[in-house]
Symmetry: C2
Subunit: 469 residues, 2 copies
């Protein structure tokens, strides 16, 4: 029934995406080109992502801090690849406090440089290492072709920055974030399957020696990079003089990492799970897991609805009441489908006369009367099942659209509807460059068993190839 | 014993403040003048403030959202007083994406204008009202005389913005935030007594018709404004065309409010409670309520320390272990005092041989052996008592330094060490202007019973007068 309010995915996927963002009240365009307004419902999903991710990051030993928005322009130029990578995207403040600044300041596109300056101050001895920091912040990268959540001139993210005594430590920590923080978060909270791999030299972060990425397939077959974790080698340590006194009394350069995930994940969530009726929010993530809807007023209806709400809350379900009976029921149902609340419990006079309510499942689908006494168990079981159902559906979709290929032409063909997999030994940087001419990129290199190859040229490494957001 | 590492308060209070900020590892100056780096320990206190404040704001019905950092310059000019108030402090982006912008954009100094634009879109009918929004964000106000946490070019805050159908509703909501969200937060979490009052016309927010403030006395007798809640009348509604269709079918202008608290509260916390040994963090706020310190290694010591830690955690105490026995005990004790952890539990071989540990209280003072089996109860009771002790101490300090006066000279004299209270009917705008010449300001107008006068000229209103940060 909600189908009429959105452009169908099959007809025009980008349009469908814009429709969902607007009609589910997730976000709006900001007044300055490329910026966005995250509306309360969209933000409530982001807050749930933040809280869970933050706990995982803290469990990995990192502590939150906050570094300034403004970075002296000179900092950016200290690491050559970094400045080259970011220069075209920088926003520059030239005037402040009523006059022209002596040195213009850059609005952070990422904080490696400014954090590098402080890592240098704080890492004096081997006892200070590893130094594990994270920050939640806004960053700015000027976008010429903005799209809400996916590419915006300003976005929200967490960026981790760490300093280590040895290359092995830094490498292990970047991998730990990749495999033990980001990947489980995406699977367990977002119900999204992710391919873990390493980026090719062409796709690496500006200044990194290795970029680990998590790639997810959207419902149109394109890839979205959901997060990255970088080994920065000693590049930033050298540029910012991040050194420490070793146990042997020698001054040594640190090894650093950085890693981030952003509001982009909201775009991924929409495009991985949404359907023609709107968003479908995975139950563990959902700010509202169960919407208790008063169908229409009637004797005992408000009290029964309130009781169901209280019972669900007591069982730990995030439940909300919709008793706006002055708005037509159909419109409210469409709105709930658009917003993708996993379960609706409809309380109306007719069902209630028979001691039941109607439970509607957004993810698995279906609508059935449930006796009042069984509502809580039914909802709890549905939420549990539907996390799995959503994950399995996304996985089946991805696997169904991923093809092992042997030639560039086959890779291009597979990328029209999904991903290709091809031995990196066969593709190589030259094949990669040729694919790029038609907008097809190597998303990452991965091993057949799903592990991350330790190097680009690890025998057996597969290139996952596709079109990407 | 920690006294030697800080400049004593009595000798040089501003210097003491800087010392605490640096030595308790709360913050650092940023590389761009006036900006700050909030270090992990400082940020962990801010996170606790955020979490508690956020829950109170949500309980008051507001929902979080996120609006852009960049605001078109033209927005600022739409409300005449607002632009006049903020122009000297604005940071302006003139270049982005590699070229000069057609219209420069301003880095938000506050978000009334950009949020006004969206309130106008979202408030269509009386059913959409009240619309209650809050955001956690960074804002920029260029500072010529910066001081960490108190006046920084960039700071973190929450800013609430609401739209209402009637003046009464808006007024009541601004008062609700002031009296039922901010004041209890400051008393219950920060252990800080606050005077609630209204600002005089001279001290009002740029664009407000009424500004409600919470003023707290620091240990040097100066005032710090800890938060404000503004009635904006219809000023922004008129400037941004925030209208709604009334139940009677008429297009009406909304009434709006805004309200905020910021990282400035960290400065207030330091200066309200700190002593010559460092910070003292109120127990309910403290990220670390009890530091379990291994005095030195010995048989059974690590296991006993771990047990105490686990027992405290199981009782809901935020406890942390300090087992860095390769750092001298004295230095670690000084550090713990600097950081102001409310309680330390020292576990060492000598006490342990007698089945006890030593409990050291940072707030009430004192150090006593406690039998292992009684540690949890002792710590829980100490945390409970010490919140009250800290509050009472601050209250006694404030009351002892507040004097009722009848003349401007007396007011100036009282302001040298604390606050003066003087009937506003006697002081008036002219007296206020004369006091301002010597840096003494009217912090707020309040009634003798502590309530907020409904108007500046309410009979009996008292002006609270002092020097302020």
């Amino acid at each position: 029934m909600a189908r009429s309010v959105l452009t169908p995915q099959a007809q025009d996927f980008p349009r469908w995406y814009q429709d969902v963002v607007a009609k589910a009240e997730l976000a709006d365009n900001g007044p300055v080109r490329g910026t966005m307004v995250v509306r309360p419902y969209g933000y409530s999903i982001w807050e749930r992502m933040q809280a869970d991710m933050d706990a995982r990051i803290k469990a990995a030993g990192a502590r939150n801090a906050y570094f300034p928005l403004f970075i002296p322009q000179s900092y950016l130029t200290r690491e050559a690849e970094h400045v080259e990578g970011f220069s075209p995207e920088l926003a520059v403040v030239t005037h402040a406090g009523g006059k022209q600044l002596e040195e213009p300041v850059v609005v952070r596109p990422t904080s490696e440089t400014v954090i590098g300056e402080y890592l240098a101050k704080w890492t004096q001895s081997y006892r200070d290492l590893p130094l594990l920091l994270n920050q939640w912040a806004n960053v700015v990268r000027w976008e010429l072709r903005p799209r809400v959540f996916l590419r915006t001139s300003e976005f929200l993210w967490q960026e981790g920055h760490t300093a280590h005594a040895t290359e092995q430590d830094a490498r292990a920590y970047a991998a730990r974030i990749h495999e033990q923080v980001y990947a489980p978060f995406m699977r367990e909270m977002l119900a999204m399957p992710v391919v873990l791999g390493r980026k090719t030299a062409r796709e690496r972060f500006a200044g990194a020696v290795n970029t680990l990425a998590l790639e997810s397939m959207m419902r149109d077959g394109k890839a979205l990079q959901m997060g990255t974790s970088h080994e920065l080698g000693q590049n930033f340590a050298r540029a910012f003089d991040i050194t420490y006194l070793s146990e042997q009394g020698r001054q040594e350069l640190c090894w650093t990492t950085s890693w981030g995930t952003s509001t982009r994940m909201l775009g991924g969530l929409i495009m991985a799970h949404g359907d023609d009726a709107g968003l479908r929010v995975p139950p563990r993530l959902a700010p509202v897991q169960a919407l208790v809807t008063v169908v229409k007023d009637g004797e005992g209806v408000p009290a029964a609805a309130r009781q169901v709400l209280d019972d669900l809350a007591a069982a730990g379900v995030r439940a909300e009441l919709d008793d706006r009976t002055d708005t037509p029921f159909g419109r409210r149902a469409v709105d709930a489908e658009l917003k993708g609340f996993p379960v609706r419990v409809e309380v109306g006079p007719r069902d209630l006369a028979e001691g039941s309510v109607t439970v509607v499942r957004r993810i698995a689908g279906g609508k059935a009367p449930v006796a009042l006494g069984a509502v809580v168990d039914t909802v709890v079981a549905a939420l549990d099942e539907d996390h799995r159902a959503l994950y399995d559906e996304a996985l089946a979709h991805r696997d169904g659209r991923t093809h092992d290929v042997g030639t560039l032409d086959e890779a291009r063909e597979a990328a029209a509807t999904g991903w290709a997999r091809m031995p990196w030994a066969d593709l190589g940087p030259e094949g990669e460059a040729r694919l790029a001419e038609s907008g097809v990129t190597v998303r990452c290199l991965t091993m057949p068993d799903g592990t991350v190859p330790p190097a680009d040229d690890t025998p057996g490494a597969l290139a996952v190839v596709g079109r990407a957001y």
